[in-house]
Symmetry: C2
Subunit: 288 residues, 2 copies
């Protein structure tokens, strides 16, 4: 049985409700987790489909809720959006607050296997199991397949969760995702830190590797990825969307990679295409 | 001659550009001021009309830019949005950082007459004169009448600037504005602090008083005000939109006051109606 939800705050928003809930999380070792959820007006009359939005490094469950500009389209289409946090908070692991790209705010949506991270840093199970059980139990959110999308580290999370759980996700999209964390600086640091040196363990959290080893994933339909061409992290080879695109082509997976001239890595980029992502998932969820 | 603008950052956004500029401001006593501006795609081929957005207590020029969700409609309608800061920064006035509702982040869009505030706290002249001169000189922004809107303290600023300068503003709207600062706690504290005890001086910055003493203002057309019914500051009698509405009725000024069930004072409220405000101003600016 999922635990209880404590309503922290709620805000009327585009005819529905943005709510913030807290709960004790077994998945992350008993810590208190906080998330946001947007419930569209249609949720007042019955359960609605849901899309999970995974945010990037340093963000929280409020970042996408405030800056993503997703709610208007969600209200029009009658879909809920769940915005999890990006890591456990207050785990008390030595060094967890030292770096902006590892530890607090940087959970990378993995289940850590390495001490001292393995007790609390279990965001993969949190997003995959605990959070869906909670929201479908307590909120007017439809059970069954969901959509999932995210930004940067959260794009990595969305891609890997979807590819590994095609029974749980009907559609996946991402803004400027980390596509090949086995090979890029952010990914090497985080995956080795949480998962250790065994490459096979880390490879389970690498979208490009999953595509090559387990793909294609026809039930996901087309994978949608938006990438700003002026994104400095693209230049720094942290994101490498073309590597994922090549893997998709090799395996016959449909992927739409859109490179946007002039756009960078910020929420000014994300919000510019947010409505299109909501419509993309709403279309997929409408066919279930 | 207006001074120079220093480009701090720029972000591609809805086909146009969100830019952040800094400049030395004569209006606020030589301090460096920072503002955001959204330039729609249409600005690439010529000057576009402009709307000024004045934010509320504790905010900066980035708040509305990130959380207001105004840019999509601005891109569609071909209008620029200028987002000034809410006070001078770093004036070095003793006590300016002590309170969230007075001093830094709380300039109230007045020209202070009282020591030690009068040298730097001159946001009325900054928004009315210096900023328009700068943006029309350096950016593809049309000279002539502008639209102006704002939130809370910024709604107060928008209403009073528009009523006192009908030669400069064609349209005015507000989200949850402070309508009668002469009589409410936030307003009494701020206006007495910046302007002293002389009631006539303070009354020049009170929208309700301006309407009663100088109204109506037919060139402004209809004044649009959105107010959330669940706004705690409405209950605390900080906002009092019905007092302004009565003044408008008494003077024959057209005003549309929309009370929204369930909405509070947050940007989840503002953003829910942001597109309507952009369209409201774009319609007025299109007739000039």
């Amino acid at each position: 049985m999922p635990g209880d939800l404590e309503l922290v705050s709620e805000w009327r928003h585009f005819g529905g409700w943005m709510r913030q809930y807290a709960h004790e999380s077994a998945a992350v070792g008993g810590l208190k987790m906080t998330f946001n959820v947007y419930l569209p007006p249609q949720a007042e009359t019955g359960p609605v489909p849901v899309i999970y939005y995974l945010a990037g490094l340093t963000c929280t469950g409020e970042t996408g809720a405030q800056k993503g500009h997703f709610a208007k389209a969600a209200a029009q289409r009658g879909v809920a959006i769940v915005y999890p946090d990006t890591s456990p908070r207050g785990a008390g692991v030595a060094g967890e607050d030292d770096d902006w790209d590892f530890g607090t705010g940087a959970g990378f949506y993995v289940d850590a296997t390495q001490q001292p991270w393995s007790k609390h840093y279990r965001m993969y199970t949190y997003v995959r199991e605990e959070l869906p059980a909670l929201v479908t139990e307590h909120l007017p959110i439809r059970k069954g397949k969901a959509g999932i999308f995210g930004h940067s580290m959260g794009g990595h999370g969305a891609l890997t969760l979807a590819m590994r759980n095609t029974d749980k996700y009907a559609s996946v999209s991402a803004f400027a995702p980390i596509c090949n964390p086995l090979e890029v600086p952010w990914g090497v640091k985080a995956l080795k830190g949480y998962l250790g040196d065994d490459r096979a363990t880390r490879a389970e959290y690498d979208a490009t590797n999953l595509m090559l080893e387990k793909g294609p994933f026809p039930s996901l339909g087309t994978i949608l990825v938006d990438q700003g061409k002026a994104d400095k992290f693209l230049d720094q080879q942290q994101l490498t969307p073309h590597v994922l695109q090549e893997a998709c082509e090799k395996k016959g997976q449909s992927m739409q990679l859109r490179i946007h001239e002039g756009y960078d890595h910020s929420y000014y980029f994300v919000s510019s295409f947010g409505e299109e992502h909501i419509n993309f998932h709403a279309d997929a969820l409408a066919t279930l």
